[in-house]
Amino acid sequence: MKTHSEAAEIFNKDFDRTTWHDETLYFVRQKRDKAAFQIKDWELLRETASSIKNNVLSNMHDYLLQFEENAIKNGIKIHWAADAKEHNEIVYGIISEYYKGEIPVDTFKGMVKSKSMLTEECHMNEFLAEKGIEVIDTDLGERIVQLAEEPPSHIVMPCIHWKKEEIGELFHKHLGTEKGNKDPQYLTEAARQHLRDKFLTRPIALTGVNFAVAETGEFVVCTNEGNADMGAHLADIHIASMGFEKIIPQKKHLGVFLRLLARSATGQPITTYSSHFKKPREGQQMHIVIVDNGRSTQLGREDFRNSLKCIRCAACFNTCPVYRRSGGHSYHNAVAGPIGSILAPNLDMRANADLPFASTLCGSCSNVCPVKIDIHQQLYKWRQVLVQEGYAPASKTLAMKGMSTVLSNPGIFKFSGKVGRMLMDKLPFLVNNNMNPWYKQREMPEPPEESFRDWYKKNRKK
């Protein structure tokens, strides 16, 4: 697996495409600004959302049990999954049980799935595929990356890294559209017809969960395409997968979160569909799989627990100057971008030790976050944890210790500064070479004859 910086370097080889990717996402950031600034009390709304989520984090146990109790009363079956594997097995178990242990392989058509980053996190599609169950992603962007056999590069706009010409090619190959036709309306219509058949023939629908209301035992799914509704309403079984942090205490709190979510995500006042699911219709089964998968551990990390406030709007992606110029896949995690970089090390420190360093700590992420997660502060803190847990290269540790010695001894500092500047002046090739990453695309500063302190001694010190 490539590190973020290795993948980002490859991404940046195509200068024009990087420009296009950056501008596309910055445009979404600007749409967010426009929508957010129309709300006079925007900053108060963020503060309110943050407080509600803080309350949830401190009372998670009680709210989850309350939610379970109410959901069961509504006729929903609740399942608890400790990790990704359990989640996947539970989903398979639900399907298997519905068919009394014998899934009719010849006639069974599989599952439709609306957007769920949790199932990406759990690698559910791959798991079910091995069991012979095909999962069709019904969100248009997700269907595109699925046809291309790629993971989403963005949690809200999964195929934002694809150009319409390329989607035209992809659809020509998979859906039989005219070669060379890149008209978005034409392509969307083709996808619509293709997906319509899947909706009508798949007996199982899986959706994500945006908000689970403890007070009522209902859950809300937000989409722009109505694909969650289409899937759930036509299927015999509706399975909803949720990370346990999706809980909110009361229905009235939706008024806060629904105002923030779409404005932060895409600059829309609200998603086209905010669908409430409360109980199964006659003859239908409704299941909710509540997943931990490391969330309890994160909740127990004082410095990082509030990363669980995240409502997955991706505003931090769109504003991040690094994300815009490296693309979602460079983060090698289901959730990319700044929020992904503070969630991923909790799942696997070794595999994701590079991610907290894929940031300049500019702080723009924390400023756009609708629930006020201190993302850039957590990036800094993860760096400390990762180094202390031994996930830094030995060469870096050595360099840092050397630097620390020089910088904490004024005598050595003055001497090495003088020698360094002299060498740069007389023997510039020592630093101006390919071993120095600074020099690859930038000139080194021109070494002055004297340091500030030398000047000061001559000119001011009595």
């Binding site: 973020h4 910086s5 980002a8 991404f11 940046n12 950056d22 600034f37 709300i39 925007w42 900053e43 504003t319 100057p321 690094v322 110029r325 490296s326 360093f357 894929a358 940031s359 300049t360 700590l361 500019c362 702080g363 723009s364 924390s366 400023n367 760096r383 400390q384 180094v387 202390q388 830094a392 870096k396 840092m400 210790k401 630097m403 620390s404 020089v406 910088l407 904490s408 004024p410 500092f413 500064g417 500047r421 990453p437 600074w438 690859k440 695309q441 930038r442 000139e443 500063p445 070494p447 002055p448 004297e450 340091s451 500030f452 302190r453 030398d454 000047w455 000061y456 001011r460 010190k461």
Partner: protein, 235 residues
């Protein structure tokens, strides 16, 4: 007013002119300026790389140098922020611009600087020290650096397409993530070039050093000056 000057390590070694301009500017504004001789660095390069735990000696040295002063002033938003957040001092540290506007209470400066000036907001100065309002927030506009620049005769402040996007320096990020770092710097410069910047300025020499490195490599005609150099030259 007596102030102790903190000149960050790389400014001391590579940009003494920024230190000199800072000292002269503060003197012109009526301060008695002292430079404690054994200062080196605040420790930020190590801390931001995940090595805060080995910065103890650096912190102690910093305290030994500056604990005798009520006011410590530094021409760097980034280093000032690091000291504020990580090094307890008996007195208090200020970034140069905020010291002039908030402590010396200078409303505006009289002087002349006949150039189109592009202001680069360093993230640590802006979002960390709140030297100016941030584009992400729905909150009233203010800008301490603009407050000091805007009344200089002949100075025209350039309006940028993206007024507060990061330049990509980011400490060790600039070498660890070289490709993205350079690309971010190139994009910032493209914005300045497009909008007519003649002199690129800012409160953080680290951002300026990074962008100057690209300017010199790509042979752009933009001149780079720290805001202390502009103010010191203008008044």
């Amino acid at each position: 007013m007596k102030v102790a000057l903190f000149i960050p390590c790389y400014i001391d070694q590579f940009y003494p002119k920024v230190g000199i301009a800072t000292l002269q500017l503060l003197e012109k504004l009526g301060c008695e300026v002292v430079f404690p001789q054994n200062q080196t660095c605040c420790g930020q390069p190590m801390a931001n790389s995940g090595y805060e735990h080995i910065t103890g000696d650096c912190t102690k040295l910093f305290q030994d140098n500056f604990d005798d002063y009520d006011f410590v002033v530094s021409p760097s938003g980034s280093c000032t922020l690091h000291v504020k957040e990580h090094i307890p001092l008996k007195g208090k540290i200020y970034e140069l611009i905020e010291f002039i506007t908030d402590i010396l209470k200078v409303e505006s400066l009289e002087g002349e600087f006949k150039h189109k000036v592009g202001l680069h907001q360093s993230c640590h100065g802006q979002r960390g020290l709140k030297l100016s309002q941030m584009s992400e927030l729905n909150a009233p506009f203010f800008s301490k650096p603009e407050q000091l620049l805007k009344n200089l005769k002949g100075l025209e402040l350039v309006t940028l397409d993206r007024k507060d996007e990061c330049c990509g320096f980011g400490g060790t990020f600039c070498v660890a993530e070289e490709a993205v770092s350079v690309r971010m710097g190139q994009d910032r410069l493209a914005d300045h070039l497009k909008n007519g910047t003649e002199v690129l300025t800012g409160g953080d020499t680290s951002c300026l050093m990074h962008m100057e490195g690209i300017i010199r490599r790509e042979k752009h005609s933009i001149k780079v000056m720290h805001i202390a150099e502009i103010l010191n030259q203008a008044i």
